[in-house]
Symmetry: C2
Subunit: 146 residues, 2 copies
C-alpha cells in the first residue's frame, strides 16, 4: 500500500544552497510559510500557540538511504539512521519545530527553519507544551558529544 | 508534484476500534513497533534515547477534511484544522511522542500510542531534549479549556 502526499504550501527561506542541520532560531533573513490560500481557514486560532511543528517534503535529497550514518557534526561516530535526524530517510518527511511570529492571511512568519527555499509544505500541527515538552527526555548518544 | 510514501513497518496496539485522542503513557496492553527487518540496522544507538517520535500513516480516517474542527473533548469550540491534532488532515501523517521501553532486533516496545492496531509506520526519529523540549512553549487555545 502506498500513500500519496500533496504539498499544501511552500516554505520560504534564505537557503538556496544548503540549509543548516537544525533550525536556528536566531538565523537572519526571512523565513515564512505560504499556505495555499484554499487552506487559510484552517489557521484559525493557531496564533494562540508559541511554537508549531512543520512537516515538509525533503525534496532536495539526492543521496541514497544508508542505514548507518555519521552526522556531519559528529565525526567518527556511526549511528543508525533512526537514531539520527539525517534527511536521507526511507520516507522523506522533514519535521521541525519553529516559533510562530505572525500570521497574516495565508502567510506565517516563523523563526529559522532547516529547510531549503521553496520546500513543499505537508502539514502544520500545534506544538502543545503539556503534551510535547518532555522534561524527562534526554539527548541520547548526542550527550556524549557535548 | 506528488510524493509516494511506503510503510517501513507496522505499529501494534490494543486499539482495534478507536484509539485515544492522544498517546496515553500509562495505557495497559502491548504497544510495539515491528520495523521491517531490512531496516533493523538503522536502530543502532536508538536505545540511548528516552523518547522517540513515531510518524505513521493515518490510514483508517474516512471522514473528509474540514478546515474548521471541534475537538471531541472541547465541545462548543471551533478551531482551525492546523490548530488541532485532528487525524483528518490534507496529508494523513500522524505524529506521536512515545517512551522507548526496549529494542529487540526489529521490535521496539513503547508506551501507549494513539494509533490503531496495524497502522503503517513511516518513520522513527529521536526526540532530542535539547532541541525538542520547548519550555517556553504554551498550550495555545487549549489553555482556556483547562
Amino acid at each position: 500500500m502506498e500513500t500519496k502526499l500533496k504539498p499544501i504550501g511552500v516554505i520560504r527561506t534564505p537557503y538556496t544552497n544548503k540549509p543548516p542541520h537544525q533550525p536556528e532560531p536566531d538565523a537572519e533573513g526571512e523565513f515564512y510559510i505560504e499556505l495555499n490560500p484554499e487552506f487559510a481557514e484552517g489557521l484559525h486560532k493557531l496564533e494562540s500557540y508559541t511554537y508549531v511543528y512543520v512537516l515538509f517534503h525533503l525534496d532536495r535529497t539526492t543521496r541514497p538511504v544508508k542505514l548507518l550514518v555519521t552526522p556531519p557534526w559528529a565525526a567518527g561516530v556511526q549511528v543508525g539512521l533512526f537514531a539520527s535526524r539525517s534527511p536521507h530517510r526511507p520516507n522523506p518527511i522533514g519535521l521541525s519545530i519553529v516559533r510562530l511570529k505572525d500570521i497574516d492571511g495565508n502567510r506565517l512568519d516563523i523563526t529559522g527553519i532547516d529547510a531549503m527555499d521553496r520546500t513543499p509544505l505537508l502539514d502544520i500541527k500545534p506544538y502543545v507544551r503539556s503534551l510535547d515538552c518532555k522534561n524527562d527526555a534526554n539527548d541520547g548518544w548526542r550527550h556524549e558529544r557535548r
